[in-house]
Amino acid sequence: MAKTDTKGRALDRHGLSNDQLRAIMRTMLMQRQLDNRGFQLNRQGKVPFALGSEGHEALQAGAAMAFRRGSDILAPYYRDLGLAVGIGLSPFEIMLSIFARAEDHNGGRQFPNHYSSKRAGLMSFSSILAAHIPHAVGAAFALQYRGEKNRAVLATCGDGTTSEGEWHESMNFAAIHRLPMVMLVENNEWAISTPLDRQMGQPEIWKRAAGYGIPGERFNGFDPIETYAVVNAALERARTGGGPTLLEGMCYRFLAHSTDDNDMTYRTKEVVAEHRKQDPVPRFEEVLIEHGIMTRVDIDAMKKDVLRETNEATDRAEALPYPAPAELYTHLYEGAWQPWQ
């Protein structure tokens, strides 16, 4: 949990090029912009539900940079807007999900932020917490089984989700078979209203790794470069036969759990404000400026561009229709099965 503040030190860029650093910045800005757009649309009464990821930007953009497009597989959860964008989903795809339009990958069937994209290697998942972790393990097994070297599965979940039995079973199996998988826990200190000390007997999730016989590590998820370095090393180990890793990225949930939640019932404005001081987005802007990788002007231009893209995506998606009612009946099975036939 150090190194976020690079003031006066040379930037340890862990091999990332300036282009890559700028790409990370853009993913972070895009995540925040799309996130805000969802809440805005909800306030405007245009969508019944939105779910923010503020505070997770650095973690997700850094992890996305370590993800190898076209070969790695992502098994994410609903707070992974930045990861989805970072591995190649377009803002338009995100808006389709938020608006539940017919063109959405899920055909408007799932809650927003429940992405799915075979093209991007993003596995479909449900709202049932931890249920996707065994799927990630199974996918990793398939890669290993087919001898597909240099591919790995990146699975993510929140701190609260590690309490589920399926999480344990998955870690155990991945460890036995030394599967090419990275379990990345996004520890934002809350599971809706439940703080860490009601979720677990000791708060360092990475320490469970030793019990499974795999490497574990905690890192500063407010620092996208550190995140990249740690996730990249773990993914690389996975891709090269080194087995699974349990990673715990520390971040914070700046917003309420969702538009249905009021976090002021269980935490104070002050404590949130205190954490906001570490907001990874402005901090990373400063880092890039300080080290001469971007100027303030560059960043402002980037923000403008992100806003433009978000606006375009919003307008384009909003204009599209909901799925037709008849779509309710499709894609249950291959072919037209009825329970009585």
């Binding site: 055909g107 069937r109 019932t265």
Partner: protein
């Protein structure tokens, strides 16, 4: 209904659940509530709001996200003398607890030949119409009603919510208590003050009629009443039965009504195939076949997993008073 006091208050279903839980906590130290976000947050529908301040974190227990153990730990508490009320945040998340409910809670008394018992209530909000999408909308009753050892309640009116929740808490065996989340704030009604129970296993004729019996439960009881009123205005007379209790179910009330109206329509939000309407129909086909003047019809959800998030999909999945009225008309006129 054994009402012990005269006064009453108008409440919605959330308030009825909340008031009942509060009184149970007040009157019986063995009662504890456990579930996700039941503490400071006071449950995601604010049902247990402020309880933790009054009763403390030892009685209002914020659990980790781990449904199997929420139920499993509640079973252990119940076996050891407490009266746990476990909450599953949304019915859709009860699946991981299936083993504990079906394999354990339902069998504790039976497998120990009565030596150990499991007085446990599991509350959970179910049902659609709230844009809950695939995983915050499901009906789960048919996945459990086949299981000997369980009782399952699904009241629709605030007074029934209180009377049946009290009955569930007092019950010495495990009860699955289903709360239709769309009715939570929508449905208001008089709720008697003081402690009273409504007997488990008794349906309620919520509207009398002569030409058709409609059996339903949960949100759809309210819509069926609306539809029945529409038919009433057209001169067609429909009797509406609110099941309230899904296991056990009330044979007498259903048969008495069907023998009078000679036609039966079962209405539920859950999928048709293997839904609880199947058992109702089968019971009537077994016991009252020759009283029927028309085939038994079931007006239920299409056979897809649940409603989609998009408005159009939810709308297509759910019935409506108008769709129900149509189904009623068709059968009355059969």
């Amino acid at each position: 209904m054994a009402v012990s006091t005269q006064s009453s208050t108008v409440m919605n279903n959330v308030e009825a659940v909340r008031a009942t839980l509060y009184e149970a906590l007040k009157s019986d130290e063995r009662v504890v509530i456990l579930g996700e976000d039941v503490g400071a947050r006071g449950n995601v529908f604010l049902i247990t709001k402020d309880f933790i301040d009054e009763f403390g974190p030892n009685r209002i227990i914020d659990t980790p996200i781990a449904e199997a153990s929420i139920v499993g730990i509640a079973i252990g508490m119940a076996m050891e003398g407490l009266r746990p009320i476990a909450e599953i945040q949304f019915a859709d998340f009860i699946y991981p607890a299936f083993n504990q409910i079906v394999g354990e809670a339902a069998k504790t008394r039976y497998r120990s030949n009565g030596e150990y018992t499991c007085p446990l209530v599991i509350r959970t909000p179910y049902g659609g119409g709230v844009r809950g999408a695939l995983s915050h909308s499901v009906s789960i009753e048919a996945l459990f009603y086949h299981v000997p050892g369980l009782k399952i309640l699904a009241p629709a009116f605030p007074a029934d919510v209180k009377g049946l929740l009290n009955a569930a808490i007092d019950d010495p065996d495990p009860v699955l208590f289903l709360e239709h989340k769309k009715t939570y704030r929508l449905i208001k009604g008089e709720v008697p003050s003081g402690h009273y129970t409504i007997p488990i296993g008794k349906a309620n004729v919520v509207k009398t009629g002569s030409q058709l019996t409609v059996v339903s439960y949960g949100l759809y009881v309210h819509w069926a009443l609306e539809a029945a009123q529409t038919l009433e205005n057209e001169g067609l007379s429909v009797e509406v039965i609110d099941l309230r209790s899904i296991r056990p179910m009330d044979k007498t009330t259903i048969l008495t009504s069907v023998e009078k109206t000679r036609k039966l329509l079962i209405v539920h939000e859950d999928n048709k195939f293997g839904g609880i309407g199947a058992e109702i129909s089968a019971m009537v086909a077994e016991e009252a076949l020759f009283h029927l003047d028309a085939p038994i019809r079931r007006h239920c959800a299409p056979d897809v997993p649940a409603m989609g998030y998009a408005e159009t999909l939810e709308h297509e999945y759910m019935s409506s008073p108008a769709k129900m009225a149509e189904a009623m008309r068709a059968l009355v006129r059969f």
